[in-house]
Symmetry: D2
Subunit: 265 residues, 4 copies
């Protein structure tokens, strides 16, 4: 499936302000970036680097005044995400080195506090993928998905005491429980075709059966093309923009995702 996706951010900047952006999706085994656009207006010197998780990050000082960031990508991706009932748990000693950071508790996924809860949620399920989907079912059934409701980022333990959250929060709770079972779990921020209302989206991936699988507590099925923008341990790692110093105003944010035909040759 070919998708065209875009994200527009418009800021009002009182004084020149350092930003760290993560808005350049990378081609990987699951997606091919065939066209990409990244327009800063006004333009500003940028230092791009790769972070610990392989994300391309853009560092810049936004000039005072109106400042906009407009990115778009044209991507080939799968029509739906793979599922893998019965995909087995991978013993810690067999995990690839680069999955290990995703076993530990992180800012918004306090997996060290979910040992008992996770164990009770997966009782009777076979180890691995089926445990993860049991956890996702719990999150989906327990937490009311309320797009747009989340301003302050809350953690898995905080969400677990509430009844409602955004996609990011629900991913955090799913991640915390999966990690509590020693299943590597990572946060993904990206685009999901057909999301209602359209916005940037967050979901998570688990490493079972020797590969990463996509899980999404906000969606009843795994249909819809996805474009991953950034990976990390939780929302602290994958913010599409971080701004330092005096607060700036985000005037406008607009996200689009359209299905396209393939490139014309």
């Amino acid at each position: 499936m070919w998708l065209n996706a875009s994200c527009l951010l418009e800021f009002q900047i009182p004084v020149p302000s350092p930003f760290l952006l993560k808005l350049r999706p990378r081609s990987g085994r699951n997606q091919w970036i065939a066209r990409e656009e990244y327009i800063l207006s006004p333009s500003a010197p940028v230092n791009e680097f790769t972070d610990m998780f392989g994300n391309l990050c853009q560092r810049l000082v936004a000039p005072a005044g109106n400042f906009s960031v407009r990115t778009s990508v044209y991507v080939e991706t799968a029509d739906s995400s793979d599922t893998a009932p019965n995909a087995p748990f991978i013993e810690v000693q067999q995990l690839p080195d680069d999955t290990l950071p995703f076993l530990y508790p992180s800012r918004y996924c306090e997996s060290d506090r979910f040992t008992e809860m996770a164990a009770s949620l997966v009782r009777g399920y076979s180890s691995g993928y089926d445990q993860c989907t049991a956890i996702v079912e719990y999150v989906r059934n327990t937490i009311e998905y309320t797009p747009g409701a989340g301003q302050q980022i809350i953690s898995a333990t905080e969400l677990n005491q509430l009844s409602a959250g955004v996609c990011r929060d629900m991913a955090h709770l799913g991640i915390a429980c999966c990690r509590a079972l020693s299943i590597p779990s990572r946060m993904v921020v990206g685009y999901l075709e057909g999301l209602v209302p359209m916005d940037l989206h967050a979901w998570f991936e688990v490493y079972v059966g020797n590969r990463w699988y996509t899980l999404d507590p906000t969606q009843a099925d795994m249909n819809g093309g996805r474009i991953a923008i950034a990976y990390g341990r939780d929302a602290a790692d994958v913010a599409i923009f971080s701004q330092f110093g005096n607060p700036v105003e985000l005037l406008n944010m607009k996200v689009t995702v359209e299905q396209m035909s393939g490139p014309n040759y």
Copy 2:
């Protein structure tokens, strides 16, 4: 200063259990590892790799029964840690890329919740090192250092509501406040000469004045040689051992640090 330091861990392992150890200090700009020993008893196949923070990590499956890990290092290090009154704050856009992960909130250092508190603690101090020492003073004066008191790891926000904690907890609170000021701050686990009672120790480092400086809320001054074993965002990254699966019993842990003369040639 030449130090000889050792750490002995003795476990009773009911069933073969995966471990991840971080007990091989690296030579760096501040310490030279002249001799090192790392004995597993009984011996077991180990996969050693480098994590995202540059720590050498050892992965193995400990066999059932008594299992001990005995490490020692003979190291040249400074007699005391550098201090740098007035060392300036480095603007985010000028920071080296590899300091950036240490700006974000992490599991036990919820810096996103300390913006106001940190600002109030450093009012009147010049930006940079002096802000950090003001924060360390606050932690030292507010939290009673109670070595050995900490079983469950608590976070900076949790510690801030209590009156007592271990070195690790106090470092977390210091880190959370420094990061809230956009100063990169990282956890260090290691040896400190002369620590009473002797144990592994935790402190933190801040990046100001274009280098990392050592801070230690548990110590009245910066005297004493230090050997860094592992670096990370907080205790979740620098555990000297993580064990997965059924719990095992840590029967004994013994740490020694002695000052030595230099090597005989």
Copy 3:
């Protein structure tokens, strides 16, 4: 300066053949990729990864038949390359770690065989940048630049016995001599605005005065915008395509570089 550059490769593939491509320029301190296109026709699954030098590499199996790769970039870059008369030599012990691989001899830059020649070329010049430009002058004056003449890649020692070579060969000779003076030197493949005849181009960079500077033995001055596509030790590292297995036919290769106005907002 805004440049629009493109590269088209058309192959006739007898049997499915593995390719490794390096055709996705990265944003860095000197260039900002504002728009990029990378079209495979027919499309094929690609695995993109980052190599040791930070280049984004694309691995794929080209299907039998006609296969084309069409890439374009729209980039903000400098109008001309910085020069730095008198920029000093950096002592080896002060060099950043990531410049060190560019001190050693490599396949086509046998710097270990150029110690005497390099010393004689730079006699009387102050250490650093001025030595490098003396070497570039020698290459420019000694070797006749014959675009399109090079099929087999020849090395610096081989070129030094000939009177003519392509840009790649001349860069190799320059690199070999600079490395022989312990100056880190790296190969760059990319686009050069105004190159006659238009083609992909190769030049090199040297690390003096605490940064990388561009040198180009084929050009009388450093005017013209440049877009770096890949960095490496020599041509062996920066081939824009490597093909494995039975030979395939490159039917057509077309490169364009146009100066543009900036993006319309």
Copy 4:
């Protein structure tokens, strides 16, 4: 098998001279460093870092006068190196990313010039390991192993025109031919138990059958414990010491390898 190995280097240094050393073997899947010693005399500030191939490298400025480097390791390693008749060739598109640098020609392994020769050497052998051993047989039978004969490093094409070489040269020729067949091949410098006369040794590894295998053109069989000190593309990457600036005198070099019983508990 437990080995105790040591390497002593004694220099006479006329003026302070930068050195880059690679003398700290790492634990890996095949060897466990249980004890290690690294003594500089006189001691000097060292900056240790990890190079592109994962080797720990030590950078320092040796003071004028007598300067010695004394390293020893106590290591658990296999009694002999695995062999794998029939282990299959891995198609380029299936190779792990980190094996790819070892497919390309390098300074002393001009694999691009060995396509025909390699093809003719392996005619009739099944693709993969058996081709590699055919190449090793050719090198062993064609080149007279003359320990101690090699001062200047010569390349595979140069050796191929001679009748005699040292272990390093013979490894280069083996590597060049294997790479010419698209088999990743890397140089190893290390210790070999029982080597006559005892010295540091060089051999190579090939990636077939989904792992690295050891090959050694100088040895009739694969018996003897090995300790890898450094990995790279060829001798240019794995020099145990590189010295920059005015030449220094290596007064003495002594290598020992002894078989030991395991550690006493």
